[in-house]
Symmetry: C2
Subunit: 363 residues, 2 copies
């Protein structure tokens, strides 16, 4: 059977192995996953309760207006319901961006190394990709490339802070950059980890309301998968002008988010204690990873997220990741990003101490 030719260029995404599978394969009693930047404290108590209390409604189609969650987000960000779209993870909003603005005759722009999904969705449509020489966000390089290929570039993705490198631009610098971008170029500010950056340094905080009031060509992306501890429930959102949201709505399939996910997200937003504990733990523990790196002379970039990325010179990241896997600790090897580096999610104090112990043995 012949399929649409653009499929030929697509490599099937291969997911990592499940914890249970790894435990079985290597005969391990305990497996610690520090690979997907999930919340080390698990699911918030309030979200868990919301799931349990609504489990008996799993047979009913979700409320497709999603008004309850939209209302909660509108209140949090002081925007209107009409400025919000909910997706199956913020990944799905990335998909809407790509499908609404791009095709094989157009291009998007990103820094040298950033979140893989931008590229994955773009490749599905044969979209051209421009990346800066700089791996991290360098606004001068981004602007130079934009200027040079303005007629093609219809989307810019800025990941603030950046996954998988961890660095973060100041909001003021981002706003200055946005002034110079044409109104017909859609700029996505991916704030999947922005709560972490804002907590560490308020200069990194992107305010979605200010952003969309000032720039009608911008969309802010948020997620419940990281700070809010709902990676398994697939809930993210986009905040933008009504015009942009309406365009995305044309692409959205009905019932794209489960009813329990909607309930869990509303409850998670409300769990202040869990959120605070998560943020505080993250940076207290991050410090230990920085100290560890210094002790072992491992390079790292100051991270504004819930992970840290270690860069290696002589040692090989694939080799190190595999050795750690055999010891029951899953970390993310970044060779597929062209980096001899690993990304480690900041875990609980217990998980991190296990990491330090095991890593020092193999390093």
């Amino acid at each position: 059977m012949r399929f649409n030719p653009f499929l030929d260029a697509i490599k099937t995404y291969e997911s990592g192995k499940d914890i249970d599978l790894i435990a079985k394969e290597y005969g391990l009693k305990e497996v610690i996953k520090l690979a997907s930047n999930e919340n080390p404290y698990g699911t918030s108590k309030k979200a868990k309760e919301a799931i349990i209390n609504n489990a008996h409604l799993a047979h009913l189609y979700p409320d497709d207006t999603m008004s309850e969650l939209k209302q909660a987000l509108a209140q949090k960000y002081d925007v209107l319901n009409e400025n919000i779209i909910i997706g199956s993870g913020s990944d799905q909003i990335i998909e809407y961006i790509v499908h609404a603005k791009l095709d094989h005759s157009k291009a998007y722009l990103q820094c040298g190394v950033s979140f893989a999904m931008y590229e994955i969705y773009a490749k599905q449509l044969g979209v051209k990709i421009y990346k800066t020489q700089s791996k991290t966000h360098d606004l001068e390089q981004l602007y130079d490339l934009y200027q040079k290929h303005k007629s093609e570039i219809k989307v810019i993705f800025l990941c603030l802070p950046n996954n998988p490198l961890g660095e973060c631009l100041d909001a003021s610098a981002v706003f200055e950059f946005l002034e110079k971008i044409d109104e017909d170029c859609l700029v996505a500010i991916d704030g999947a980890y922005n709560e972490f950056a804002s907590f560490k340094d308020s200069k990194k905080h992107i305010n979605p309301k200010k952003l969309i009031n000032k720039f009608s060509n911008c969309v802010y992306l948020g997620t419940f998968s990281k700070l809010y501890g709902l990676g398994g429930m697939r809930v993210g959102y986009g905040i933008a002008s009504k015009e942009i949201i309406n365009a995305f709505y044309k692409i959205r399939a009905p019932f794209n988010v489960t009813n329990l996910s909607l309930k869990a997200a509303v409850a998670a937003l409300d769990d202040e204690e869990f959120i605070q504990k998560t943020l505080e733990n993250n940076f207290t523990q991050m410090k230990l990873y920085e100290d560890f790196a210094k002790k072992y002379e491992i390079n790292f970039i100051q991270s504004y997220t819930n992970f840290i990325t270690y860069f290696f010179n002589e040692k090989n990241s694939t080799d190190l990741s595999e050795k750690m896997l055999k010891k029951g600790i899953i970390i993310r090897n970044l060779q597929s990003y062209g980096l001899n580096a690993v990304r480690i999610s900041i875990g609980t104090a217990y998980e991190n101490s296990k990491f330090f112990k095991e890593f020092s043995e193999i390093f």
Copy 2:
């Protein structure tokens, strides 16, 4: 901002109102929803338990290999894991079909009135649509149209039984029809309600294994939203040759189904008692809807699903639906399908008796 021009042709999907919202709007104590063909017995006990027992894992990304659910489906249908793809509802598999095989230069074929999502996804790509004069599935008419426009038609959707009309072709007739279709034309057999049809009349049963063994160009679609009582969890699947599944996998986004949905689906497959109760209730109660229609001289087609469609002559279906809504009973008006008809989901004995009482008052 300019968006891709194909968006101009798309009308935003407007979902029905939520039960709570309707109760508030009309000041009703009780609202009965017979509009979305959900399971009137709710969520199966086993599925509900699986959700509750796994709620504490909501922070972990889903196992993207989905091997547990694939294994359960492979066993049920006696096929291999590699013949299965899981989607966020079978809707998402429809999306994969459209995106893998069609574009604005191609066409798909369906009967006069069938499941709305085929058209919605096709319009997103500017795909041409051929429909038979006959509203229900008429294989001669389908074949005539296919023959005439063979070079364009790359997908055929057969909905067995058909939503929203309820009729169902015999499996043997379908297999004869398939013999005459070119190998490069992908035929989707949408079996969202096929368990109901098979229970009523074994001649309607489509066996996915036989289907894909005989026809390498066919995909069978199944769902957990109807019989299995998981409409809110968004789980469906496609069964086809490895070649077709691999093509779909290239379009699939990672983590497209929540981890609790996967757990619930595995448990629901195993809840034989719930399944039997649902099937038996459905056709016992369906008989009451047929008797009611005869008494009031309302036309209907023999239904092989968990809903029945009433056709009207003088009375207007919009008017009737609105009157029922004010009485707290939601049914599906089919004017958007060009029909002066309503589709009523078969409810519990209590819900149906309420329907009969209220409907007889307004009719």
